[in-house]
Each structure stands twice: as structure tokens, then as C-alpha cells.
């Protein structure tokens, strides 16, 4: 369908959006900030008769803290995430990623819900959300589902979102001062670069210089974001030195299955991955 023939429905409330989605679910696509889907529509990758423009649905635009848990409405932009004190204090690895997404213009329009729905394996917000073990809350007219992020993404650009559902919010247990965490991205330049590889690490449960809960999430090296379980296991309960971090980081490539594309070869990604994991662990635990 030509873009000139596409209809755009613009609800103002969540209820209205869910009703429209239910009615038109077979021939409608959701547009939030638009920074991915507009390109896909122009390239002909996405074809649709109608667009559900949810940008004016204020109910989906919030960032709040409740009993140590951070809730982020799906329509929160990266600029809002960067400015949020809740995210700064309790989810700083997400803030680090948000600052490196695109440039100012994109941060002003791109939304976290859109980034989730678009399901790119190179989406910069996703490794932090995997490391935070975030939960995605979806809604349709009758139900509300809470889906752990690892089950939300089911394959390359595939999600568990049903055709009558939209993403309402993302929540995660906030990090505290005793927790360590870092996010690092390797792109071809500082701004407006899609990641070649990106890494988010979180270490929790600090006791006598070691941690009982270690999470390492890898971006752009598999069809979805993946956790580096062997690397995590090697660090749990261990005394963390440069040497032990380096040895654990070497294991990360076992969990990666990178491809060769315009930004880098599979071989390069594998090599650079362990280095980036090491740097992220070092930054989180031992400082820069």
C-alpha cells in the first residue's frame, strides 16, 4: 500500500487505543515515536493499511519509583529517561545506554516501548534491561500480562506481543548503592551509530568483596540479546581481580553467535566481545 493511502488513527487515552487495536488488529501497526517504523514504511519493509498513532496517549508517559521498583511507561522518550532521577539512582546502566542512542533529535522522539516493539538485536536499551531482569507489561482490552524480558523476545525481530496488545510499561527492581553496574557500547562513531557490540553488566549481593548475583547481557551478537551465563557463573562468589575478570570475560563468546554485516564481521565481533565485557566488568567493579 502506498504511504499516501495509509490511514492514521490517533487515540488520546489507553482505553481508546486498546479499543481501536481490538477492532483493527488484522491490518494495523502501532507507531510510537516513529523513528524505526517510518523508515521501514518508506523502505517497504513494513506494509500496513492503518497506523495506530499512540503518541498522544498520556497514560503511557511516566517514570516512577514504587517500593524500590522503577516503572517506565512505554512512551517515555530517551530524553525523559536521561533526565529521570529515578533512573539515574536506580538504573544508571539504562541511562548510560540512553545517552548513546542516536543523537539528541532521536532521543527526543524515540521511546523505550518502541525500542522493545521493534525488537532489533542491536537496540541499545535492551542489554541494560536484560541485565536489570526487567518485566514487560502488556495490555489488551481484557487482559494485562507481565512477561520477563527474556521471554518477551522470541527470536530475531520477534516478540510475544499479540496483535491486539500494546506495551504499557517496563519495570525492574532498582539497583542500590551496594550494587555495581556498567554499560559499554562499541559503535563506528560516538553519535548516531548502531552498535557493533554492546554490553551491560550488573553485580549484586555484595559480600566480602564478591557478589552472589552476576548478570552479563550482550547486544548485537545473536538473534536476540543474550545473557553470558558461563561468564556470570565464573564470577559468582569469586574474589574479583583483574585476572579473574579477564578469565571470565573470555567465556562470554561461548554465548554469542554473531553474524557478519556492514558494521563488522562475525570474527571481529567475537574478538572484541570479550574485551568489551572485560572493560565493562572492570568499570563496574574496579572503576575505570
Amino acid at each position: 500500500m502506498m504511504r499516501s493511502e495509509i490511514d492514521v488513527l490517533s487515540p488520546r487515552t489507553l482505553e481508546e487505543a486498546l479499543t481501536l487495536l481490538q477492532q483493527h488488529q488484522n491490518d494495523i501497526r502501532i507507531i510510537a515515536g516513529g523513528s524505526d517504523i517510518i523508515i521501514q514504511l518508506r523502505d517497504g519493509v513494513v506494509k500496513t493499511e492503518k497506523l495506530l498513532n499512540i503518541l498522544a496517549v498520556k497514560d503511557l508517559r511516566f517514570i516512577k519509583e514504587k517500593e524500590g521498583r522503577i516503572h517506565i511507561g512505554a512512551l517515555s522518550t530517551y530524553t525523559e529517561i536521561i533526565k529521570s532521577q529515578h533512573v539515574k539512582r536506580h538504573g544508571w546502566i539504562l541511562l548510560e545506554a540512553a545517552k548513546q542512542i542516536g543523537a539528541i533529535q532521536l532521543q527526543n522522539s524515540a521511546t523505550i516501548g518502541g525500542n522493545l516493539g521493534n525488537a532489533s538485536p542491536a537496540a541499545d536499551s535492551l542489554p541494560p534491561l536484560y541485565a536489570l531482569e526487567a518485566t514487560i507489561v502488556t495490555r489488551n482490552q481484557s487482559d494485562r500480562r507481565e512477561i520477563p524480558i527474556e521471554r518477551f523476545f522470541t527470536g530475531y525481530r520477534k516478540t510475544a506481543l499479540k496483535s491486539d496488545e500494546l506495551i504499557e510499561e517496563i519495570y525492574f527492581d532498582g539497583l542500590t548503592r551496594n550494587d555495581a553496574g556498567a554499560y559499554l557500547k562499541l559503535g563506528l562513531r560516538k553519535a548516531n551509530a548502531i552498535s557493533i557490540v554492546d554490553v551491560a553488566v550488573i553485580l549484586r549481593g555484595k559480600h566480602r568483596g564478591s557478589y552472589s548475583d552476576v548478570r552479563v547481557a550482550l547486544g548485537a551478537v545473536a538473534p536476540t540479546i543474550v545473557r553470558a551465563h558461563s561468564c556470570e557463573q565464573a564470577l559468582i562468589g569469586k574474589r574479583l581481580t583483574e585476572k579473574s575478570l579477564q578469565e571470565a570475560a573470555q567465556l562470554a563468546s561461548q554465548d554469542a553467535s554473531p553474524i557478519t554485516d556492514i558494521r563488522g564481521s562475525a570474527e571481529y565481533r567475537r574478538k572484541v566481545l570479550s574485551s568489551l565485557v572485560y572493560q565493562a566488568l572492570h568499570k563496574a567493579v574496579l572503576g575505570n
Binding site: E5, D7, G34, S35, L51, G102, A103, I104, Q105, S109
Partner: protein, 156 residues
């Protein structure tokens, strides 16, 4: 398929009848003949189409015109007041921060948006604010110097 869409453009309320899935940039340039914003990459990577929407710079190639409904849009055409250029525009001229000129409307819009939000930017703030605007001629040095000067004259 056409919708009537109303928004404020450079201070004036307007209503335009257009396909609702067209981008704001397409409608600005092709229907409203506001040609300050340019289309280069059409992917949000070059910043030539930057406009200020509700106080924030965005790529008008990545916003549907439907999403601009009821918003306040400022293009480079709307920066001068009563024929007087704003501080950023003047500083770009003073510094010769222009070569081919193609990126300049977007560059000036981004820089003006920065100074509206942050009257005392550091050099790092300026570089960050302009990191989404590509220039293939100038090497950026004069552009950054121009924005530094504009910040000073605006405060004076």
C-alpha cells in the same frame, strides 16, 4: 486518504489537508513550501531536517504529520523576529561558519534549541547538541565557535 491537521508553524496556527501517514518534513516542504528543513538521509542520521517541536529538536523526517497535530513547530524560517536574525544566525555569519550551506538550517535550529534550554552551554554541551547534525564541509570548528559566541551575546 487525507486528513485535516492543525498545528502551530513558526508562531502561526495553520491547518493542512494531507495524507496522514506522510512525514512532517514532506508536508512542510512539498505542501507548505517551507524549505529550510532539508531531506538528506531520511533515516534520522544527518539532522538536515531538524525542527523544534514543542521545544525539542527532532528530525522532521521521522515524525508523521499526524503526530504534529496540536504541536508547536519551529523551522529555521521562524527563528528571526521581525526581520532580525537571532543570535545563532548572526554568529554563524560573523564566524563564516557556512560553506555549502546545506546543513546550516538544521545546524542553526539545533543550536537555537540548545540555547533555549541551556543558556550557558559548555563546549561539550555544544558538541553533544550538534552531534546529530552532520556537516561535510566545515570541519565543525567555526560552527562550535559560532554557537559559543551566540550563547555569550544572548546573555549580554
Amino acid at each position: 486518504m487525507e486528513h485535516e491537521i492543525s498545528f502551530k508553524l513558526n508562531g502561526e496556527p495553520i491547518t493542512v489537508k494531507c495524507p496522514p501517514a506522510y512525514t512532517l518534513l514532506e508536508v512542510l516542504r512539498d505542501q507548505l513550501h517551507v524549505t529550510g528543513p532539508k531531506e538528506d538521509c531520511a533515516k534520522g542520521e544527518c539532522g538536515a531536517c531538524t525542527v523544534i517541536m514543542n521545544g525539542q529538536p527532532v528530525c522532521s523526517c521521522l515524525v508523521l504529520v499526524s503526530q504534529a497535530e496540536n504541536s508547536d513547530v519551529i523551522t529555521s524560517e521562524g527563528l528571526a523576529k521581525d526581520g532580525r536574525l537571532n543570535a545563532v544566525q548572526k554568529a554563524f555569519i560573523n564566524h563564516g561558519a557556512v560553506q555549502c550551506g546545506h546543513c546550516i538550517p538544521g545546524m542553526i535550529v539545533s543550536a537555537s534549541a540548545l540555547l533555549m534550554q541551556n543558556p550557558r552551554p559548555t563546549k561539550a554541551d555544544i558538541k553533544n547538541a550538534l552531534s546529530g547534525n552532520l556537516c561535510r564541509c566545515t570541519g565543525y570548528t567555526k560552527i562550535i565557535a559560532a554557537v559559543e559566541e551566540a550563547a555569550k551575546t544572548r546573555r549580554a
